[in-house]
C-alpha cells in the first residue's frame, strides 16, 4: 500500500494539477516540506509499480470538437473476447474499453465509450463492429451529462 508521503504527493497533485512552471515538482516538494528529488523518486517508483500509468495533459473532447458520445455494451463470447478487445483498443473513436461483470437482465461483458464529431461515425462504428464480430450490443447515446469530474482522491487516500 501507499506510504503517507506517497499519498500526500498524489493527493496534492490530484487536487491542484501539475503546475505550469519550470520545476513543477519542486513546488510540490516545497508545499509538502519535502525535497524535490525525493518527490520525483517516489513518483517514479509509483510509476514502476504501475500505480501511476502516466503523466499527461487531459484533453476536453468537447472543446476539441468531439461533441457526440455514446456508451456501447457488447455481448462477446469468451473465445472472441481478445480479438474484439484488441480491435476496440486500436480504434481511435474508442476512448475507454472495459470488461465488466454482466448484470441481471443486462447480459453484456465488454463496454466501450466512444467520442466522435458526428453521430453517424458512432453508428457506423457500431454497425461495422457488430457485423465483423457477430455479437449483440446495446447502444446507449448520452441524453444528458449530469456530472463529470475527476475522482476526489481525498475520499480514498
Amino acid at each position: 500500500m501507499l506510504s503517507k508521503n506517497e499519498k500526500g504527493i498524489l493527493l496534492y497533485i490530484s487536487d491542484h494539477g501539475l503546475n505550469l512552471s519550470r520545476e513543477p515538482f519542486l513546488e510540490v516538494a516545497d508545499e509538502l516540506g519535502m525535497a524535490e528529488e525525493d518527490v520525483i523518486a517516489m513518483l517514479q517508483g509509483l510509476r514502476r509499480k504501475g500505480v501511476i500509468k502516466d503523466l499527461r495533459g487531459v484533453i476536453d473532447p468537447k472543446k476539441a470538437g468531439y461533441k457526440e458520445n455514446a456508451l456501447i455494451a457488447w455481448r462477446v463470447p469468451d473465445e472472441k473476447a481478445d480479438a474484439v478487445k484488441n480491435n476496440f483498443v486500436e480504434n481511435d473513436l474508442v476512448s475507454h474499453c472495459y470488461e465488466r461483470e454482466p448484470g441481471e437482465g443486462f447480459n453484456y461483458n465488454i463496454f466501450t465509450m466512444v467520442h466522435a464529431k458526428k453521430i453517424k461515425e458512432i453508428e457506423d462504428f457500431v454497425e461495422r463492429a457488430a457485423e465483423e464480430f457477430n455479437c449483440d450490443y446495446a447502444l446507449l447515446f448520452t441524453e444528458r451529462e449530469l456530472k463529470k469530474e475527476k475522482l476526489d482522491m481525498g475520499e480514498f487516500l
Binding site: S14, G57, K63, E99
Partner: protein, 156 residues
Amino acid sequence: MDKTDGKLIIALQEGMPIISRPYKEMADRLGISEDEAITRVKKLKEAGLIKRIDFRLDLKRMGLATTLVACKIPEREIQRAKEIILNCGNVTHNYLRDHDLNMWFTLSAASTDRLRDLLVGLKERLKADRMLSLQTKNVFKLGFRLKVKNGWKGVV
C-alpha cells in the same frame, strides 16, 4: 492554434517524463524554448482544450473497487437523484441515457465491501426501481485522445 500547438497537444497526450523539468524535455523535442512551451500550454489550458496536467492512476492497483451502475429512476425522481449523485464524492460521471435503465454512473470505493454498502444505500436513497452494478473486471483502455494519424494537422 498553429503547428507548434498541434505538436504540443500531441506531446501532452503522449505523456511526459517524471523529471525535474518535464516541460523542458518536451520543448527540446519540439525545438522551442522551455518558457515558450509553458506559455503555450497555459494558453491551451485557458482555452479549455487542455483541462489539466495530471497523473493517470491505476485504481485497481491502489486497492480501489470500481463499478458502473445502471439504474432505472422514475421520471419524477430524476432531479432529486441527480442532486444526490452530485454530492457523492464516490461518483465521477453520471449520465442520462436513452434506455429503460436511464441513469448511469461510475462508483468507486476503498474496498469491495465498502462498494457493496454504498450500492445498498444508494438504491434506497435514489428510489431506483432497478439497479445493476457492472463491476469492473479489466480496464483495457482509459482516456480520451485526439486522433493523430495525420500528425499535427489532424489536431489544429
